[in-house]
């Protein structure tokens, strides 16, 4: 096939981007694994992982980060779900402006929002620390929970609700048996958008706790910035990548079901 024929085929138009993805997405991720499995002498080693497992500081930070991330995600669901439900409910109709107001903070720089939280705590003469950290994280990530849940609830076919009402379901049952199960995909993507960024944040925790509480992301950053600890930093990144992979495989199953259903 000549080049001009190839260009005519539209599927070849993806080639530049595919090359770009291979060089700048796939290769860098492989490099993380390569660096993680390399000692300072350049040979293959598992020493970096052994160091993680035996060093109490990094293990403790790791567990602490995961607990803070779980707490943040849980609070976001508890606070965000009712909000998303109200926003999507036409009976309680609140209009599109309200939705925009809830999504708007998503578009403001996360550092700026964290500094705003610090400003609020200063203004109210509250101490910065763990409380500020959790408040700040919930404040930063709440819109990311509300938006996907709102989207899925809004897309629920109203005839399901009507059908269940015709069959004698009361409001409570409609919610429990129709709306809640059908909004699970929204909750799952909300968890992805809150949980993963929370374990990996570094700057926010430093700002909100005046550097007294460190999250896993901070440890990765500290090691990455020093050339003699880069391999250890890469190993920590790989551990985080594995967590991401597990979380997204778990949530992808849900998504696939949804997509298959949507195609029919």
């Amino acid at each position: 096939m000549t080049i001009s024929k190839l260009v005519m085929k539209r599927s070849t138009w993806a080639v530049p981007y595919v090359l770009f993805l291979v060089i700048f997405v796939v290769l860098p991720l492989i490099l993380i694994a390569v660096y993680a499995l390399r000692g300072n002498d350049g040979g293959f080693t598992l020493q970096n992982f052994a160091k993680f497992a035996t060093q109490s500081e990094s293990i403790n930070t790791f567990i602490y980060s995961i607990s803070i991330a779980i707490l943040t995600t849980a609070l976001c669901i508890l606070i965000g779900y009712p909000a998303a439900y109200i926003l999507a409910n036409s009976e309680l109709s609140t209009g599109r402006t309200m939705v925009v107001l809830f999504i708007l903070p998503m578009w403001i720089n996360i550092l700026m929002r964290s500094l705003a939280t610090v400003a609020l705590f200063d203004f109210m003469h509250l101490h910065l620390g763990e409380g500020a950290l959790v408040f700040g994280l919930v404040y930063d990530f709440l819109p990311f929970m509300i938006y996907p849940i709102y989207n899925t609830i809004q897309k629920i076919d109203k005839s399901y609700i009507e059908a269940s009402q015709d069959l004698g379901a009361n409001k409570k049952e409609v919610f429990k048996r129709i709306i809640l199960p059908l909004s699970v995909p929204g909750i799952v993507s909300g968890i992805m958008m809150v949980f993963l960024p929370t374990i990996s944040t570094f700057a926010i925790s430093e700002i909100l706790t005046l550097n007294t509480k460190r999250l896993f992301g901070s440890i990765i950053q500290d090691n990455m910035m020093l050339s003699d600890k880069m391999n250890y930093g890469a190993a920590l990144s790989l551990i985080m990548l594995i967590i991401i992979a597990i979380t997204s495989v778990l949530s992808n199953n849900e998504d696939d079901d949804l997509n298959e259903g949507g195609l029919i």
Partner: protein, 268 residues
């Protein structure tokens, strides 16, 4: 009735908490005090010194602002074209396995936390011996912006008549002409919203920039704020800047929302 009232109250309480910090920043942008919480009388001093370049670290702050806009503009433009071409290509890939794999890799930068994207690219540039600077930051921004362009262009393609492109070729158009005259007009709204999304994502980015900017002193607004916050105090002029950014985003979003509504009512 009571339920509706309770529901609204809940939303208003949440909104108040969400906006309280931003409101405090805006209020204290109108007073020339060193820190928030200390009111020194109403004035436009912070805005004046932000624009006149008399602020404490004026030259770094203003170059950080220019860098942020410059990087966002270049990265969003390249992402828009790269992503649109890719969307057409992926959409027309008949082999399901190949298409799914490209879509899978395309999703990676969206799922990966910024710190992982940043570190992986940092390692790539270190291995290649490229020192950080404008180029590495722009490439990094294209990496996490383009997937969103692909996602916003694809729905447009599925609504388009697939035969028009073939017809254009049959009538003697080159693929480039056909792309320009047939496909682009159809996917333009998707390209535009992809561009806006890419632009805001780029402006917003912090972690990826931090890892790819190198050590030659290239700062964007986010990294400037981070360095500033680490030093302890926050340059007061940043309050004025934050207020301006907030209002700009507000107006931009209302504009996009208005446009989206108009498009919806045009083709129901």
């Amino acid at each position: 009735m009571i339920k509706k009232y309770l529901a609204k109250t809940y939303l208003y309480i949440l909104l108040t908490i969400l906006y309280a910090p931003i409101a405090i920043i805006i209020i204290f942008s109108f007073t020339n005090s060193k820190s928030i919480g200390e009111w020194k009388g109403f004035s436009f001093d912070l805005y004046a010194s932000l624009f006149s370049g008399e602020a404490q670290h004026a030259s770094t702050l203003s170059s950080a602002i220019t860098n942020t806009l410059f990087i966002a503009l270049i990265a969003a433009t390249i992402s828009m074209f790269l992503g649109s071409l890719a969307a057409v290509g992926i959409y027309n890939t008949k082999n399901k396995k190949i298409r799914k794999s490209i879509q899978f890799v395309n999703n990676i930068p969206m799922i990966n936390p910024d710190i992982i994207t940043g570190i992986s690219l940092f390692l790539l540039f270190v291995s290649l011996g490229i020192s950080g600077g404008y180029i590495s930051v722009i490439i990094a921004h294209i990496v996490f912006c383009t997937p969103y362009v692909v996602l916003s262009v694809t729905p447009r393609l599925s609504r388009m008549n697939p035969n028009i492109y073939e017809a254009a070729l049959d009538l003697g158009a080159t693929p480039f002409q056909a792309f320009k005259k047939v496909i682009i007009p159809e996917i333009k709204p998707g390209m535009l919203s992809g561009f806006i999304l890419a632009f805001t994502l780029s402006i917003d980015d912090f972690a990826v920039t931090l890892f790819t900017k190198g050590s030659d002193g290239l700062e964007t607004l986010s990294t400037y704020i981070y360095a500033d916050a680490r030093k302890g105090g926050l340059t007061p002029e940043l309050r004025a800047l934050a207020s301006i950014i907030f209002l700009t985003v507000l107006i931009l979003l209302i504009f996009i929302n208005h446009r989206a509504n108009k498009l919806k009512s045009n083709n129901p």
